[in-house]
Amino acid sequence: MDRLSYSPTELLICTAARLMEDRTTAFIGTGVPMLAAALAQRMHAPNLIPVFEFGGTGAILKRLPRAVGESRTFYRAIAASGICDIIETAQRGFIEYGFLGGAQIDPYGNLNSTVIGGTHDRPSVRLPGSGGGNDVGSHCWRTIILMQHEKRRFVQKVDFVTTPGYLTGPGAREAAGLPPGTGPYRVVTSLAVLGFHPETKRMMLLRLQPGVTVEQVKESTGFELLIAEHLEENEPPTAEELRILREEVDPERLYI
């Protein structure tokens, strides 16, 4: 059988979509999470409730949103409210999953999307800032982080903690006053799926993407990774997933 060809972004989207469960609420940010949610809705999770920070709840993701407040985020939705309602819903513990991205991540899943290099007042690179990222990472039960897997992004220490992961390690979230039982759950990249060790809260390699070796993952990570005892390989995207993604989810090719 021919191997299907797909891009790293398509692989990332398909892997993230498989993590989205039916009958759950998922806080969706701009970019890959939107595509993953749209794909999951059409595959295994018709009852997935996508939640967008400016007020869209339970949209049918017919056309791909390009921004988290667009009318595409509340097309045939069950509710169109406002930002306070949505973030308060997360704050009172209702929302299972939060999907996030970032420019840098550290071993505890802390994310930076604010500044790189220099000082805060005079950075080498100024990024957009928290947006809803900090809120999602603070309140959702399980955050799933979607990243490009590069050494300069997977760093020992992020230049700025925009969004809390496990902060400095076990117990640190709770000590800071963040809700107990919350935190990063998975990191999905085009090389691997990673999780966090239940005791040390350090990032751990759980699964490899098709054809990727442990060495490749290590080489693309700027800190020491824990490796799960039994490493499995993800199934590659299916023809059906790729067809839906290309023909129905993003026919305008905004992302893929």
Binding site: P123, S138, H139
Partner: protein
């Protein structure tokens, strides 16, 4: 209440809830008066140099872009701003109107980081105080509630907190740590809506972002509306009124007021113009040229729409997703 930690960011808009009460009691227009005026008049009368200004929602979605451009045209100086900024903040920062900003997100979503913000922040020209989206919205909610702060559970443990003007305190009831965010009382709020009557009763279709909170947190409020309707229309569907007239100081009729952004159920965003803007904004010269073409080079919103082209605008109406 014991304060455990303080963010080192500056409180850009010091406030007094006693004064805000006084303002709401004495300065807000309670009589039914026709407040319709042009962008020029509204900005000239209600936005002053040095003001703290906010826009809602953000640059590509139901944003008061005709008002934002008029502020640039009139060259208001030394403004401080808050917003979930995309284009509107890019315009203001590029035109050199902003000295400091309560920032939560200033970028271009799928199109990535803002070149304008990068130039201003990386050269140290722009003072930035960090917040999360929730924190900013709740700061306005506190002002809307008439209380000086709100306890929230965002920002704890992060640099976002350390570079904010928030505080961490021990909850006097449960003992848990809470982040306290100060009320945000804006000098001027700018909100674009689907319809309003001449008095300022305003309705929004679709998500309401933080319009409810910002309208109630603003000392002066300018509404721009796609459509001016008869008050009878408002009275027929009062449940849809998010902003009642007594919060409003000026009403501006601005069809396509969100362009190049979108307006739910009315028109799509102008992706072609967005790309033109992105390309232009990559360099300081390109950005200044953009401002000359689309802001300084037109006298008002009507002329701006002519420059965009009526055919294009009609296309954007046809492309709308519908219900």
């Amino acid at each position: 209440m014991r304060v455990l930690e303080s963010g080192m960011g500056e409180l850009l808009q010091p406030y007094s809830m006693v004064e805000f009460r006084e303002w709401n009691f004495t300065q807000k227009p309670k009589g039914f008066q026709d407040k319709r005026m042009t962008e020029q008049e509204a900005i000239a009368r209600f936005v002053h140099d040095g003001d703290y200004v906010g826009t809602e929602l953000y640059g590509t979605v139901r944003c008061p872009m005709s008002l934002a451009r008029e502020i640039v045209r009139q060259g208001k100086k030394n403004l401080r701003a808050v917003g979930q900024g995309v284009l509107e903040l890019d315009l203001w920062v590029a035109a050199g109107l902003i000295s400091a900003m309560d920032i939560t997100y200033h970028g271009l979503e799928i199109h990535g980081v803002s070149s304008v913000l990068r130039r201003a922040a990386e050269s140290g020209r722009l003072k930035l105080v960090e917040w999360s989206n929730g924190a900013i919205a709740w700061r306005m909610k506190a002002a809307a509630m008439g209380v000086p702060f709100l306890p929230i559970k965002s920002m704890l443990g992060t640099d976002t907190f350390r570079y904010s003007a928030a505080k961490v305190a021990e909850c006097p009831f449960t003992g848990e740590k809470v982040c306290l965010v100060p009320a945000l009382v804006l000098d001027v709020g700018l909100i674009h809506v689907h319809r309003a009557d001449c008095y300022g009763n305003a309705q929004i279709d679709g998500i309401s972002g933080f319009a409810f909170e910002m309208a109630r947190a603003s000392k002066r409020l300018i509404i721009s509306a796609e459509e001016i309707v008869d008050t009878e229309e408002i009275r027929r569907y009062p449940d849809r009124t998010i902003i009642p007239y007594y919060l409003v100081d000026a009403v501006v009729h601005a069809p396509f007021g969100s362009h190049p952004g979108e307006m739910a159920y009315l028109y799509e965003r102008d992706e072609q113009h967005m790309r033109e803007f992105l390309e232009a904004s990559r360099t300081e010269e390109g950005m200044q040229e953009y401002l000359h073409t689309y802001v300084y080079g037109v006298r008002n919103h009507e002329e701006y729409l002519d420059r965009i082209g009526r055919d294009r605008l009609a296309e954007l109406r046809r492309a709308v997703l519908g219900r």
